[in-house]
Amino acid sequence: MSELEAFRTEIRAWIEANCPPEMKTPIKSDDDTCWGGRNFVFQSEAQKQWMERCAEKGLTVPDWPKEYGGAGLSPAETKIFRQEMARAGARSPLNSFGIWMLGPALLKFGSEEQKRHYLPQIARGEIRWCQGYSEPGSGSDLVSLQTFGEDKGDHWVVNGQKIWTSYADKADWIFCLVRTDKANKYQGISFLLFDMETPGVSTKPIKLISGNSPFCETFFDNVVVPKHQIVGELNRGWDVAKYLLGHEREMISGMGGDGGTASLGGGFKDALGDEPILRAQLAMFDVESLAFRAHSERFMDEWKTGKAHPAYSNLMKYIGTELNKKRHELVMAAGGSDALEWESERSHGGKRARDWLRTKANSIEGGTSEVMLNVVAKRILDMPGA
């Protein structure tokens, strides 16, 4: 048996022995997701156990180095771990912006001290992070951001406003883009980390069309940020921000594959007898979705081994999110009037309809589809600039 196969056997047995049965049932709502953080309330003992057991083995962040709370798995081992998790139907033990976004950026740009301080807290689910990028006047044109950090010697005093900050009201810390040089557009932004409990930080939830309020306006009123809480160099935060966006886009693109269900149409077998055109649309969708699954696998194999184009995650994000929107359109169509229920017990509080509406943000958050296409055209296809 090859070493990898031995690893597969071992990890399969470990999941078998350690994943509580409740953690092998499908996620029903956002509440079933373990986000971690100072104020997180576990839904069940099983959820807590599963996260803690994984964290102990470094498996909440399998490919991070051991000294920072990971399991130090190679790309091939990480792939096997994910396959075995999917095979067992095991839920992700811990999700967070720390894992998806800040962690990779710290691994690349953080000082040794920062890595040793922040990464294990993320891996153990102790600190929940939010992302302070967008501002009212700076969405797609992010680099025009205005939130300003005034240099006060050993600290900055930050003033300004962020918007669309996901889970800002639930997060413990924020990674935030702050202008530190007004004269220099790209090289005048710094990447700062600070506690959301710092005096002067306040948040105001915004309600989404899905009826939920997962994101906020975030205000900074003379917020003091010590100088050692900068990641990367002064005024070079844009490099960190872009690198992080690459990981964010990679993460969002994963949604197109949708948790292992092989076929969307297969789930509606019984309802399609009288719906030939809907069946045909589902069949065309399944072609796309299975192709995308193969594509994600290829992308991961290339990305993790450094063979993918550095801008490739933009393409993945575009394809994955557009596909996910299409998936939910078809789920609604197949659900017919049943899927319209918004509040009933039967519909799990209108889950289908709310999920459908939520997916419309997929092609906006983390950079819009149009912006993704701009980046692909310019950076990958080398099209001339306007």
Binding site: G266, A283, H295, D301, V376, A377
Partner: protein
Amino acid sequence: MAMTYNEDQSMLRDSARDFMSTEAPVAHLRKYRDMDCKDGFSHDLWKQFAEMGFTGILIPEADGGLGMGHIEAGIVLEEIGRNLSPSPFLSTSVVAAEALKAADKAMRDRWFPGILAGETVIGIAIEEGKKHHPEKIALKAERSGNGFRLNGAKQFVVQGRSADMLIVAARTGGAVGETDGLTLFAVEKDAAGLSMDAARTVDSAMAARMAFDGVEVTADAVIGDVDGGWTVLAKMLNAGRTGSAAEMVGVGTGAMDLTFDYLKQRKQFGRVIGEFQALQHRAAHLYGEMEMARSAVLKAQNLLDEDDPRAELYASVAKAKAGLACCLSVREGVQMHGGIGMTDEYDIGLYMKRDRALAEFMGDIYFHADRVAKLNGY
């Protein structure tokens, strides 16, 4: 299984790319088209394929071949597609080789050496209607003496008239529409009672319609088991579908490269048209579609090489997705070239024609999307 090429595969790609672009570029296709070649391909080129080792990629080492897999065959097919090189590679070295692997030693010894030498061409006679429905095969094979007598008709036999041997799928039992009761026969080109009507297709290849009027074959001509031909036919179909999908990745990529080059050269309104965002977005979208097709094809090839049962499903995913992406590529290609894209002199139209022909080979987008649905139980 990794979804990337290993070192040997990358080397094969480089040599196939080099070979095809120097020995059989689009100008080569034009030349054979313009001289109204009755074969639709060059026998000399076919010999060169053999010298490169391409013809024996899927032939087992024990039979003198290279014993490689569908990934390697696909690497060659992609370069064929990119250059629109006319050759019997797909029918002979992919589909027929897959069938002959299941044949007895005598038959393998009869045909493999010629394929390895680039001297033999084999035609695949499956289709009976204008659309692909292999389970509807009706061409009849009745027992006669120690052999069989074939009656019926076939069409869309690519390079059929140039073939030394035809692999014919016939019905020895069961009802039309059933996969049981089919048998595969190796029928030599000069068999009595076999007549052909070859016509040029839109892509400048030659395809034959064939009539079997009491064609007699011996029992030795059977490939696989009598009435159990579907087992081998299914393998041929998986190989042919995945293989034609790989060729379409080449066709689509070739058309896309031509188009992207043009976007960077052509000027209107005082600037290069590639600066227009409307075109940039369509270009980026097209690139994504081609990339997805490439991944779907690579997945199918991987699964075939590992003898994984999911290869059935992925062969259809690959053929459907490659069909969608390649068709988009040639349509966008012609449109983004403007008027020059409509001229015979410019190459983009040739890509559009090859796409159309490959689209019909062993099941189109709709056939395969339907099959994906059926394999998923709806």
